[in-house]
Structure formats: structure tokens, C-alpha cells
Symmetry: C2
Subunit: 340 residues, 2 copies
DNA sequence: CTGAAAGCGCTTACAG
DNA sequence: CTGAAAGCGCTTACAG
């Protein structure tokens, strides 16, 4: 079946009459000051010629490191997470790491299942967007010290961990302020019912700002599973109908805004005349919408870079036994278009 | 560092006084008719209790199979490919396979690089969207018979291979017909300059249909790297300006349509009055656009299912030495909205 | 029905 | 500067 049998160190050793040890050192670039220049050259040339690649399973078995990172996204098909995945890819590969992806769908059970699937499977690091209720599993995972754990998009207060997140509180403060500055005085917040840090902080940012202005608070929190459903749209619709005075809406996530925009279109409401709109996260659809929707954009390339570079750094320092927490919080970027 | 050392078969063997062989059979469900019920029970209970998981590197090293599939997408951050990735995920995991992703960006050099990165690294299968000019590498890869190779989204005529693709020719025929039936008589095709099968066939479908109607052909082919750029938009703009009689446009891909819609918006052209529009591939933005854009949607869940199930099937039959080509061609779905 | 043993392809401590 | 050898944790042909 396998036509050309793969070549191993043993084969090279026999062919060149050089010990496996020496070859291993050369392959792993640990030959400096140990092996003579001629031998190195000879081996490297031969490796080049036959296209030898070390067997990674054997390496992993021997070293306990697999050069594999699991990216446990909330949903790999979400534009935000897939953009992050794309950005991380090249940096990971350039450092000899491969990335396995999976999606928790923000469900604790699913996350636990996935974790069990990968936990003992020779994975070096996890980049995780933990769903609600995942604290204990996460804490255990960190405590075990078997893997590097990098938490993304959210974090927990009750224990220390590595994370890369956004300044969500600041983001909605700014967003609320810009709606206010355009003259809106009945500004609503449409968010998600959740204890996850970004969702809570986005709500807080709005509430505090509204408080500063002495305005009335209007808020609708939708359950995660209804964000993209007709049910979710119905909630938004009746929310708007019970509060016809609302003249501005801040959507806490892009998917929420998309559901909201469907409702607004169906009701024939005019943006920005009837309603000023701003959303978290940028997407093509916001720019192409009529009128274009203002957003607080997340700095995807920066987030991705922090995530993967941080993880790789921890992977290195961990084996050197110098462990420090990696915690980054980046600012969102307000992009004003024509929606208020 | 590692707090709780992992348990191995040897540990279980010592603990229970049962040979490693027996334990291996039980773990691999090959114990039936070989090992007594009591021993099986005893071992299984112990495994359950201590949460033993076999070391996958050791398994891979021994068997030569890694239970890993590489998904070499054109671009994992593209909504189409990330949706496919998401759909494949669960089925793969349920069958004990993990998926590593990467993006070729439709560049041959990048694809070759990625291939070299993974080729000898104990990967069982590749699901590939090959870029243009990748035929020879692909052919070699298939000929080597080291991996299962499943080609996605496009195929090559000059050699036989497994693939899952769309009926692109039919798709643009239908699209052209529906533009015609709405009264448009100067229908243009905006596509990509490429020899890749879907791109060629989409163009062919349009040309043949236009020929059937005895209409004049208008076409603009843009290079892959300009699809999302300002340059690409400039091409579209001047194309429309040199042919002001054009009253309908068929866009060959979603990204092309998005660039086109930007141009149309900027020029203040009215859809559907001035221009009827239809695009390949569905996206949120088309539904939310004013007016909503008609599309030929690809059946993402079906494509993904065929892809991963086909790959898993080949992975099984290959080891059983019964090799047949897996070739599927699915129909797109015309979704009529308000854009003509 | 069960077990001893070889070997997959590496890395690395040790010896010289 | 170089090599012999142990061992990572499995699977599987072979023996009984």
C-alpha cells in the first residue's frame, strides 16, 4: 500500500556510517560545538537530498511535547473567531506548531466533552473561550499544570490565569457617549443574559455612562441560544414596541445587531432618524448596510497576535520553569459611520 | 512540574496483575471472544475509575495512523470555508479524528509549503482546496498513497481523484436565466481570472446561456488578489462605465459581489431598477442589503457532510484495501430576493 | 483465554 | 567530538 517507505534516522545512520545520536543532534540543531563541521555538512546534505523529516509521533512520545495547540473557540464559523483563527495560523506554523480547532457553542457540556477528548492526547496548549459555568474545569486544568492554558475573550476573577481580552467596559462607555453626543436621550442596551465577563462589562459600561448622564436605562437581555433565532427577534420587536420612546440602541454583539437590524427593517423604522444604532464587533454587513452602521471594532490582528505569541512564550518559559501570568487587555476602536 | 503523572498500561498491568496485552485488547475493543467477561469488567472498571486514556503518540508511532485530518482551506476566515469547517468538526470528532486547519490563500507556493509542513508528519488525510497550478503536487500526493486525499470545491480533469464539488455550470445557467426572465437583456458576468474548475464552469454556464438567448456577452475577469482591493473596485467601476447599457450582473463569488455592491452604492446606482443583481454563495450581508440580493447558495451542510463522511469512509476502506474514488457533485440552490 | 517480547522512531544521560 | 543503549507507551504476531 505505502509505496515509498519512509526513511528513518536508522536508515541515515546505516547509509552514512554515523551514529543515530549524532544525527539526532544535527536534526535538532543541537550540534553546535559538539559535532564537527564536516559531519554536520554531510548529514545535512543527505537529509536535504532524501527529504528526511523526523517522525513527529516518535518525537512526541519521547519528549512528551506534541507541538499541537487546541483552539477551543466559541464557534469557529463566527466571523470573529474564524478571523482570529486565520491570524494565528501563520505565526503558529512558523514556530513549528499546528492548531486543532473546535467549537464549544458556548455550552458547558460541549466544552467538557471537548476537553476530555483532548486533555490526555498530547496537546501542549489550549487557547480557550470558556463558556459560562466552566470555571471549575478551567481551574483544575490550570492547576494540573499539564498544559499551557490561554483564556480568550473573557476571564474569571476568582483565580489567576492567562488571558487576552478586550476593554469591554471602556468600549460601551464610548459607544454610549457617542450616541449621547449625537443627541439621543433614550438609549437602550440590547445584550446577552450571561455572567461572562465581556457581556457583563459591556452592560456595566452602558449603565454607568447612562447614570453619568442621568438618563433612564432601557435594557433587554436575551439568552444565548436565542440570539440568532426568530424568538430572539420577537423579543427585540416587543421590547421596541413597549418602549416607543427609545431613540438609540447599543447592541452588545454583532449577531445581536444583525437580529436587531432584521427587526428594524421589518418594522420599517428609519436609521438614524427614528433610531441611532451602534454595535460591538465589525463585519462587512455593517459597512454595506443602508445606512452604514457605526461599531466598536475589536482589533482582530492584535488580539490574535497577543494570543498566539503569548501562548508560544508560555510554552517556552514553562519548560524553563519560569512561569508568569500573561494578561493582556486591548482597546476596541470606535468607527463612526452613518447610523446616528 | 507535571503534578499528576499520567497513568500507562504498564501501571494498570501492575496494579491489576493482568498483562499489558490483555489490557490493550480491552482498551481497543478487540477483547470479544478472547478475554473473559470478568477480566474485561475488571479492567474497564479500573480504567473508568482512574480515567485512563491511551497515549496517542505511542499509538500513532506503533500503528502509523494519527487520527488527524488536515483541512487545507482556501481561507479559513472566509465565511464559506469556516462554515464548512464548523460542520465537519462534530462528525470528525465523533469518529475519533481531530482536524488541523490551514489556509492556502489560493497561492501555490503557500500550498506547497503547507503540504511539506504536514506531509511527513503523521497525518492520515488531507481535505484540500488546491490553488491553481497545484496539479502536479496533488497528483504526486495521490500517487504516493501515503494519505487519503479529498479535494474540495474544485477538481482536475487530467487525473482521477476524490472530490466534493458544486454543480457550478448549472448554477450560473440558472442564475442567468432568472435574470433574463426578469426582463434583463444586457447581462454581465463578473468573475475571476482563473483556470480553477468552478471559476471556469461558472463562466461557461453564463456564456452558454447568453448564447442560447442570442444576447451579447459582457464579462469582466478580475485577478484573485484584487477581489477585495480598491483596485478590484476600480476595475468594476470602469467596466460599468464603459458599458452603461448593462442592466444585470451575475457575480461569480460572494467577495466579488461585495466589492461590486460597494461600487454600485458609491455610484448611486439603483437595484433593481438600474441593475439586476445575483451572486454566488449566500451570506448575511446579502439578505440584509437594501434591497436583499438574490443568490445561488451552496448547500454548506451537505457539502461538509459529504466531505468528511467521504474522507472517513476512504480512511476505512483504504486500510481494508478496497479503494474507489469518491466523487460528489451537489446542486446549488437559487434563492430569489429583491435584487431583480 | 492470556502473556512475554519485539519493535515503531525518536531523545538524551552517560561514557569515552 | 562521537556512540551504545535505555526507554517513551503502545500494538500485535506468536506461543501456549
Amino acid at each position: 500500500m505505502k509505496k515509498n517507505k519512509k526513511i528513518s534516522m536508522k536508515d541515515i545512520s546505516k547509509e552514512l556510517g554515523i551514529s543515530i545520536t549524532t544525527i539526532s543532534f544535527i536534526v535538532n540543531k543541537k550540534a553546535e560545538n559538539k559535532i564537527s563541521k564536516e559531519v554536520i555538512k554531510k548529514v545535512e546534505d543527505y537529509i536535504e537530498k532524501v527529504g528526511y523529516k523526523p517522525n513527529s509521533s516518535a518525537q512526541s512520545l519521547r519528549t512528551g511535547r506534541s507541538k499541537t495547540i487546541v483552539f477551543m473557540a466559541e464557534d469557529i464559523s463566527d466571523p470573529f473567531f474564524s478571523a482570529i483563527a486565520k491570524e494565528m495560523e501563520t505565526i503558529a506554523f512558523n514556530n513549528g506548531y499546528k492548531i486543532i480547532y473546535c467549537s464549544t457553542e458556548n455550552k458547558k457540556e460541549r466544552a467538557v466533552e471537548l476537553l476530555n477528548l483532548f486533555k490526555d492526547r498530547q496537546v501542549d496548549a489550549f487557547i480557550i473561550t470558556p463558556p459560562e459555568g466552566f470555571e471549575n474545569e478551567l481551574r483544575k486544568l490550570i492547576y494540573d499544570e499539564q498544559h499551557v492554558i490561554m483564556v480568550f475573550d473573557r476571564y474569571f476573577d476568582d483565580f489567576k490565569h492567562n488571558y487576552v481580552v478586550l476593554e469591554n467596559y471602556k468600549g460601551t462607555q464610548e459607544a454610549t457617549a457617542s450616541l449621547y453626543n449625537s443627541g439621543k436621550r433614550n438609549i437602550a442596551f440590547i445584550g446577552i443574559e450571561s455572567n461572562l465577563s465581556p457581556l457583563k462589562q459591556r452592560f456595566e459600561g452602558y449603565k454607568d455612562k447612562i447614570g453619568d448622564y442621568g438618563l433612564k436605562e432601557y435594557s433587554l437581555l436575551i439568552q444565548f441560544e436565542h440570539i440568532k433565532t426568530q424568538q430572539g427577534q420577537n423579543y427585540i420587536k416587543s421590547f421596541l414596541e413597549t418602549h416607543p420612546e427609545i431613540d438609540g440602541i447599543l447592541f452588545a454583539t454583532n449577531n445581536l445587531a444583525i437580529s436587531g437590524l432584521r427587526v428594524i427593517k421589518n418594522k420599517g423604522l428609519k436609521i438614524p432618524e427614528d433610531l441611532g444604532i451602534i454595535s460591538f464587533d465589525d463585519r462587512d454587513v455593517f459597512e454595506l448596510f443602508t445606512p452604514p452602521i457605526s461599531v466598536i471594532a475589536q482589533p482582530v490582528p492584535d488580539l490574535a497576535e497577543e494570543l498566539i505569541k503569548g501562548t508560544l512564550k508560555l510554552l517556552k518559559t514553562k519548560s524553563a520553569n519560569e512561569y508568569r501570568f500573561y494578561q493582556k487587555s486591548l482597546n476596541g476602536k470606535l468607527i463612526i459611520r452613518k447610523s446616528f
